[in-house]
């Protein structure tokens, strides 16, 4: 950097301060969610602070409806993420591994579901399910709805992650006599696996938190967000905050471990290379 003027230095400090306030803004509601898990609310709505208690944490799963809905959400996310990961990764490999006719148009097609408003995705899918008798609204339709947008998401994320992949490694393996199938499972797959795992974790999180699309296709099945939405009209128990805090801590732990392992892996590979 060149010589700093006084004004430049003040501007720098102001910008840093602005960013610090930005982070404060990002975390303000989170602080409230965690704090209100220790609230002893008066009445049914845990919105106004009354007094500190640990009772909510002693019985985190006392709200059966909430816990059941959360388990349903986990099941739905597991199935839909599995479908989307397989289909999406295949698309990503096809797009980055091969040059072929129609790939530009295909890229455009793939982005479309992600640039359609959720309410349109949700309502249009509901019109597909409305006039037929093959599946009823419920678990299956929610899985289909989630996997629908997850496929595009996984495909684009995996493709971005494997953009720099050196495909000549495959030729090397085949020159050494490996069959294409063996080459894929022994060379390609292990190398692109971290990208696929990262994409599927994010897709899992998207499914777990999806509300709008699910709302249109759930029938009487309740996922975690649907349960909260339904409950919010009559009551907001502090267990919602307890569960939210637990989810937050667990995901941060997973994220932290993941990036720690990734860092270690990179360092190890860097040393051997």
């Amino acid at each position: 950097m060149s010589v700093m003027t006084k004004r430049g230095r003040a501007g720098r400090a102001a910008l840093n301060l602005f960013a610090a306030f930005g982070f404060l803004y990002l975390f303000l509601p989170i602080a409230f969610i965690v704090a209100f898990s220790f609230n002893d609310p008066q009445g049914k709505f845990n919105i106004v602070w009354s007094k500190f208690t640990l009772d909510n944490w002693k019985e985190p799963f006392s709200d059966r409806g909430l816990t059941d809905a959360f388990v349903t959400s986990l099941q739905i996310a597991a199935v839909s993420t599995l479908i989307a990961t397989v289909l999406g990764s295949m698309i990503a490999i096809a797009l980055s591994r091969y040059r072929f006719k129609g790939s530009a148009a295909y890229n455009f097609f793939l982005v479309l579901p992600l640039t359609t408003p959720e309410i349109v995705l949700g309502s249009s899918l509901a019109t597909l399910f409305l006039g037929q008798s093959v599946v009823d609204f419920g678990f299956t339709t929610i899985v289909i709805a989630h996997a629908m947008f997850q496929v595009s998401f996984v495909a684009l994320t995996v493709r971005a992650r494997i953009r720099g992949f050196d495909w000549t490694l495959e030729q090397a393996a085949q020159d050494l006599g490996a069959s294409p199938v063996r080459t894929f499972w022994k060379v390609t797959f292990p190398l692109i696996l971290p990208g696929i795992l990262a994409a599927s974790l994010l897709a899992f999180a998207l499914s777990l938190d999806d509300f709008i699309i699910t709302f249109f296709n759930a029938g009487s099945t309740l996922t975690f967000p649907l349960q909260i939405f339904g409950a919010a009209r009559v009551q907001l128990p502090p267990q919602i905050n307890v569960l939210a805090t637990v989810i937050l801590v667990v995901t941060v732990a997973i994220m932290g471990t993941g990036s720690f392992m990734g860092e270690r892996r990179r360092r190890r590979l860097g040393q051997t290379a």
């Binding site: 990002l26 989170i30 919105i47 408003p117 019109t127 597909l128 496929v151 493709r159 919010a232």
Partner: protein, 358 residues
């Protein structure tokens, strides 16, 4: 008889197998779309499905018997097929059924499912009855998008250029709040903005309420259930979708370009305007799409933070579809929303568009 076929298959050139692969993919996609969208039904649907299955079988046969060249040319289409068919049935076909239902009407009052009848009046109703909701949806989403740029750009800038070795930690901090449920985050804002909540108290102590009333942010001493609260909620909930793409484009900038500008006697602010901002346009572009589109269709923020006079089109679609079971008008509104957004995105990308959107 099989021998000549096999030998012909073996002699296929790469480019003709490529043509076969592409045609096969499109054919099967259209077949499933037709069945999903109910262009065909009953026995004909069965025939279409059998034909599609035959194409797939033929495709696999080709891939097994063909020369290495053929196999290579066919493999991308093979890999694309399952995912594409999934999207054909569950993304494209629904858009068709949505369009169809938006032009349908109920034959009798008690009919559950509307029948197709070129009922264009649904669109008239969508505009005449829900015009304000459309306006508010685009207005609120537009303001929220502008605010996310104003708040998000400096944050992304500080992370990209001053983060140093804490960059990844800071990026993590941007994402972490969004690992709590969308609904719970929005409900948390109802606690913060509540009449007896901390935000109102702080503003009263600082005696800023008057100013905010003047700016129309507060109404009658209330923060919650105002248009400003809805816009604030939208801004908060979509902020990371602005920060992350801007960060990605800022991070790619070679710092030496800024130094070069300053060596050529450009002032810091001029270097920022002439070098950094133009290079970060792709990030702003992507961030705008990722923020504006979901914000325009959102109904959660208006539901929890707004009042009956701040409902957005999402609220109306949801209400008409799921509560009134008025599928035709709800579908018409959905379709109009999508059409307007598509047009806006096309115009917007003409001005700011870049190649590397995805």
């Amino acid at each position: 008889m099989a021998a000549p076929v096999v030998s012909r298959v073996r002699n296929l050139t790469g480019s003709s197998s490529e043509r076969i692969g592409l045609t096969g993919l499109v054919l099967v996609g259209v077949a499933l779309l037709a069945v999903g969208a109910r262009w065909v039904s009953g026995p004909i649907a069965l025939v279409v499905l059998v034909l599609a299955a035959l194409v797939v079988v033929g495709f696999i046969t080709l891939a097994v018997l063909g020369s290495p060249e053929t196999k290579r040319a066919l493999s991308p289409y093979g890999l694309l097929k399952p995912g594409s068919l999934w999207l054909a049935i569950f993304y494209l076909a629904p858009l068709w059924t949505l369009l169809k239902i938006s032009l349908s009407s109920k034959e009798t009052r008690f009919a559950v499912f509307p029948t197709f009848s070129w009922e264009f009046s649904n669109y008239g109703k969508a505009f005449s009855d829900f015009g304000p909701q459309f306006t508010r949806a685009f207005l609120y989403a537009g303001i929220a998008t502008a605010l996310t740029i104003l708040i998000g750009y400096p944050i992304a800038y500080v992370i990209a250029f001053r983060g140093g070795r804490f960059r990844n930690v800071l990026l993590g901090l941007v994402v972490i709040p969004f690992f709590t449920s969308y609904l719970i985050r929005t409900i948390a804002w109802t606690s913060i903005l509540a009449d007896s909540g901390p935000a109102v108290k702080v503003l009263d102590t600082l005696q800023l309420s008057g100013v905010l009333e003047f700016l129309n942010i507060m109404q009658d001493g209330k923060l919650i259930n105002t248009p400003a609260a809805v816009i604030g909620g939208l801004t908060y909930n979509f902020l990371p979708f602005m920060i992350l793409p801007i960060y990605v484009s800022l991070e790619k900038i070679d710092v030496r370009l800024v130094e070069a500008a300053q060596d050529l006697y450009s002032s810091a602010s001029r270097a920022f305007r002439k070098v950094v901002v133009p290079l970060s346009i792709p990030g702003i572009f992507a961030g705008t799409l990722l923020t504006f589109i979901p914000a325009a269709g959102d109904f959660v923020n208006a539901q929890f933070l707004g009042n009956p006079n701040t409902t957005m089109i999402g609220n109306s679609i949801q209400d008409q579809f799921l509560r009134q079971n008025n599928y035709p008008v709800a579908s018409a509104m959905s379709f109009v929303l999508m059409a307007i957004i598509t047009v806006l995105v096309i115009i917007y990308s003409r001005f700011f568009g870049t190649e590397d959107l995805a």
